[in-house]
């Protein structure tokens, strides 16, 4: 069980794990209202990646990871999806470099 504290690193690792074994990896989302805590877990029954948060600022990261998995899992061609997600990251890098 590997705990992450940075959403960017978690996103990269989760994407890598999914594309290495797409049929076996699953993404789990747990929410407890009484504790106000969200836990995300990505595993392929051998490697397990986890991240937890209780801050509303991280909601956009949670949505981004959710969207990644819904799109990748329902998609027929995984290779095109992999390229698309890498294009998004390159765009973001360019935008950041300008600023």
């Amino acid at each position: 069980m590997v705990w992450f504290f940075d959403f960017e690193k978690f996103y990269v690792a989760a994407k890598k794990l999914f594309f290495s074994n797409p049929l076996k990896t699953r993404f789990l989302f747990k929410y407890r209202n009484c504790d106000g805590k969200v836990v995300l877990k990505v595993t392929d029954d051998q490697v397990c990646l986890k991240i937890a948060t209780k801050y509303s600022q991280d909601l956009k990261h949670i949505k981004r990871i959710n969207n990644l998995f819904i799109q990748s899992m329902a998609n027929k061609d995984l290779q095109t999806n992999q390229k698309e997600t890498s294009k998004e990251q390159n765009k973001k890098k360019k935008v950041r470099a300008k600023h």
């Binding site: 797409p22 049929l23 990896t25 699953r26 993404f27 789990l28 989302f29 747990k30 929410y31 407890r32 209202n33 009484c34 106000g36 969200v38 948060t53 209780k54 801050y55 509303s56 600022q57 991280d58 909601l59 949670i62 949505k63 959710n66 969207n67 998995f69 819904i70 799109q71 990748s72 899992m73 329902a74 998609n75 027929k76």
Partner: protein
């Protein structure tokens, strides 16, 4: 219980609402082939038609609901799912403490009165 996308999202809302005071809500996403994970004699004989779908399951420890997300329903499901998360996840705001600026020992030129 296997449901359609719209029914699943309705029940998911109810799950969140009923587990506000105690309990937790689990949502799992997994890619499926439509075939069992282990090879059996029946799968070897039949021609394997790959129909990839996303299996979405939700539970609160007691009730279980599930649905299949297909390629054509991705965007619609995503939008509705994100709105449900937005309304039901009540998270705390992170308080960023401002660093206190230290007062300098040496007074500024403007403060010094000319004798």
């Amino acid at each position: 219980m296997l449901l359609t996308n719209d029914q699943f999202l309705l029940y998911l809302k109810k799950l969140f609402e009923s587990n506000q005071k105690t309990g937790s809500v689990f949502v799992t996403l997994k890619r499926t082939n439509g075939q069992p994970p282990h090879k059996t004699n029946s799968t070897k004989k039949k021609k394997q038609t790959t129909n990839y779908r996303c299996l979405c399951r939700a539970t609160d420890g007691k009730k279980k609901i599930s649905t299949y997300i297909e390629h054509r329903n991705i965007v619609r499901f995503q939008i509705q799912y994100n709105t449900i998360l937005q309304t039901n996840l009540k998270l705390v705001k992170k308080i960023v403490k401002k660093k206190k600026t230290k007062k300098s020992k040496f007074p500024r030129k403007s403060n010094i009165q000319k004798k």
